[in-house]
Amino acid sequence: MSLVISEELRNFLLTLLPERLDLLLEHYAKPLPETFRVNTLKTSVERCLQLLREDGVEPRPIPWTRHGFYAEPQGIVSTSIWHLLGLVYIQGPVSMLVSETLEVEPGHRVLDLCAAPGSKSTHIAQLLGGKGLLVSNDVSRTRVKALSSNLQRCGVVNVVVTLADGRWFGNRVKGFFDRVLVDAPCSSLGIGMKDWSVLKHYSQRISQRISRLQKSLIFSGFKALRPGGIMVYATCTLHPLENEAVVAELLEKFDDASLVDIATLGLEHDRGLEEWNGLFFGSEMRKTIRIYPFQSGAEGFFMAKIVKKESG
């Protein structure tokens, strides 16, 4: 089978990455590397790596993460008993950076607004170290089951799992959380290598439609954040309507929202776009980051780190 991308996607990518389109398509055609995170709620990194080595795995650290590793050869970790017991969690390498960017500390109250299936929630729980509160929310009953299973497997104690529409969540718990993660549903153009049909059937209407939902989610997440708190908005897509446009609207609507720089710990990336196709997002958007698959060797992501200013 060969990679087929829709005409609309090709046109969009030609405007976004005219000189790097071939590079992106090359990465779309490659499988993602197998990467995992050691769950320090259940074991230590050293003990876990020792057990995996005995099973024939050669773990190699992911430079921009604290507990993430590449697994070679592929296929052993995900089928191992250690995975079933929750000692490891299979997670993309850039996805791990999203939770790290949230600067979670033990004792914090953290909201993961679109949490299923739970990669970032279980990571946040690990960073909380059993102290504080994690609220993992999702809108889908089916996906909440997967979320609950993963939280259980990872041994997370201090969690509340909720089934609610994320667009209204913030109105119910205004200013309650120290940290909020909005890992919004998106058109998934950053992880096209996982499912080529996304690339084949993509149309800009998808981004336009999801953009409205993403704006409601980011507003809701921001309302749930306490003054002085940090929110991360992330997607695994490349379209500016789902990324910079969403963040720009938040900054326009809420005076107390401001962007801060993201530490990428050596991971190659591009800055966010100040403008695209006649739309102006502002120079602040250079504090957001775009990570393309050819930079990470894995998923593509967009991330914005937002703080809520203290009043007075």
Partner: protein, 146 residues
């Protein structure tokens, strides 16, 4: 969801000691019954926060099941302080994989309820029949597919 009364928690811990022959320490955490005999462990501040959240489905960690007899889940074993040697069965790799498939695993006539251990990691409890075969209480979603 309502936390168990102190007397009920004490009775549960006593039954764990008498029937499963283990000592557990749930600390200051609350134990909450959630139907089908399932017991979840919830820190008090998490329970309090859950009261103001919309659409709560679950809170805390599923640690045990208590019907005719008490059993501990894999994660429930995280709260073990000690266990009688008759209650613990050391498993080899093959046995551990069979255990995680839902068993049965031949453990001999040690006790009616046992806890499996593989390389220092607890695999939850199992009910042993008269022939000495242990049937692990692993939920279906957690089992290795056959």
């Amino acid at each position: 969801m309502k936390p168990m009364e102190r007397s009920e928690v004490e009775k549960f811990i006593r039954e764990l000691e008498q029937q499963l022959k283990v000592v557990v320490d749930f600390g200051e955490n609350l134990l909450v019954k959630t139907g089908e005999g399932k017991i979840r462990l919830v820190p008090p501040d998490v329970f309090e926060a859950a009261m103001v959240m919309p659409g709560v489905q679950q809170m805390g960690l599923y640690v045990a099941k208590w019907r005719r007899y008490p059993t501990l889940t894999i994660e429930g074993c995280m709260f073990l302080c000690s266990a009688d040697h008759t209650a613990v069965v050391e498993l080899d790799r093959e046995q551990a994989l069979t255990w995680m498939k839902g068993g049965p695993v031949d453990v001999g006539k040690k006790a009616q309820l046992v806890i499996g251990v593989y390389r220092g990691f607890y695999l939850g409890s199992a009910v042993v029949d008269r022939t000495g075969r242990a049937y692990p209480q692993i939920p279906k979603w957690r089992r290795i597919p056959e």
